[in-house]
């Protein structure tokens, strides 16, 4: 179950970063701790929103979902089941693809780097790899005990 614990911890960090960026986007935080101002440039570009919703809010939803899945997978009745890890794989896989697209935009289109976005991209990648390793491990795990009536 170690992979779910690692995923939960990283998803929590990602959730906090997303909340921070979203609070700035809605004006609740005066300035971003970002060093060179690249975060503002990226967040205020037209790519700072996706389908009319701030990208940070998508991040909150994704990390919140991954945190919930990882915590669910740590509950006794779910510990030997593969569904929570499969869910983590799907959500983090989508996150990796979306982060790769955003990182490309930062490098090639916006020409500014949002450090928090880069950290988020790394986090979701590590969650994906962790889930992948966990999935392979679950494949070799013994089947859950079935009690005969």
């Amino acid at each position: 179950m170690t992979h779910r614990m690692v995923a939960a911890l990283l998803a929590l960090v990602g959730l906090l970063i997303s909340v921070y960026l979203w609070l700035w986007k809605v004006g609740a935080i005066g300035v971003l701790a970002c060093g060179d101002g690249g975060c503002e440039t990226v967040q205020l570009s037209k790519y700072g929103d996706f389908l009319g919703v701030p990208v940070a809010l998508w991040g909150m939803l994704a990390y919140g979902g991954m945190l919930a899945l990882a915590l669910l997978g740590l509950q006794p009745r779910w510990q030997t089941r593969r569904e929570p890890t499969l869910g983590l794989l799907v959500v983090s896989g989508a996150g990796v693809a979306f982060s790769a697209y955003l990182t490309y935009l930062e490098a090639a289109v916006i020409h500014a780097w949002c450090r928090w976005c880069v950290v988020s991209a790394l986090l979701v990648t590590v969650i994906f790899v962790t889930a992948l390793v966990g999935w392979r491990g679950l494949g070799h795990a013994p089947a859950p005990a079935v009690s005969a009536g």
Binding site: L12, I29, L32, G37, E40, L44, T80
Partner: protein, 223 residues
Amino acid sequence: MAQSMNLKPFYLLLAVVAVAGGAWIWSARSGAAFEPVEVGPLSDSALAASGWVLGSQSAPVEIVEYADFGCPACARLAIITIPDVRRLLVATDRARLRFRDFPLGNPVVDMAHQAAACAGEQGRFFEMADQLFLNQSRWALEEDPRGRFEAFAEAVGIDLGRYGTCMAERRHWERVAAGRQAGLAIGINSTPRLVIGGIMLIGAQPYDSILKYVELAEARAAQ
């Protein structure tokens, strides 16, 4: 059967991270993490950018605001704090407010800066700026907000024919760009920023913080 694991230490770690992260975000909300910085002597480019001025030229203190019309924190400053600055400091001739454009690069926001400048050409810059900040969430996500900007221009009572020509010609773009250059020259890389008596305040500061630095600048001017 799965071995039962003691998850208490893990949940404790999770709680510690959640509380520490929440506390850090809370401190960021207050802006306490950003100390004011002293600004060195202004370069020629900084001095050449006139910006837009509200208040008396004889006021002893100047508050220079660098803002991007699409920046949420700038809107927060404009909506919550700047009305008090205008009422209690500018209207009483204690300070004048100089707005310098600092667009961060979004083409739609660039257009907003031009719209404000075109209203400024007819003496309504600050009225237009108020419209842009108050309605930021309505236009910031639009692909082409020109129609909405025109409605703002109509609301502030300027000649729409002259405004339209000004926008079409991008007449004040150099002035907008000069404001950004002025900011870059003193090390600005994010918005909003306020410079009061050579001290730069970072982020959407509350009125009390602005008053403190105005009083400091008044004391220096009196020496």
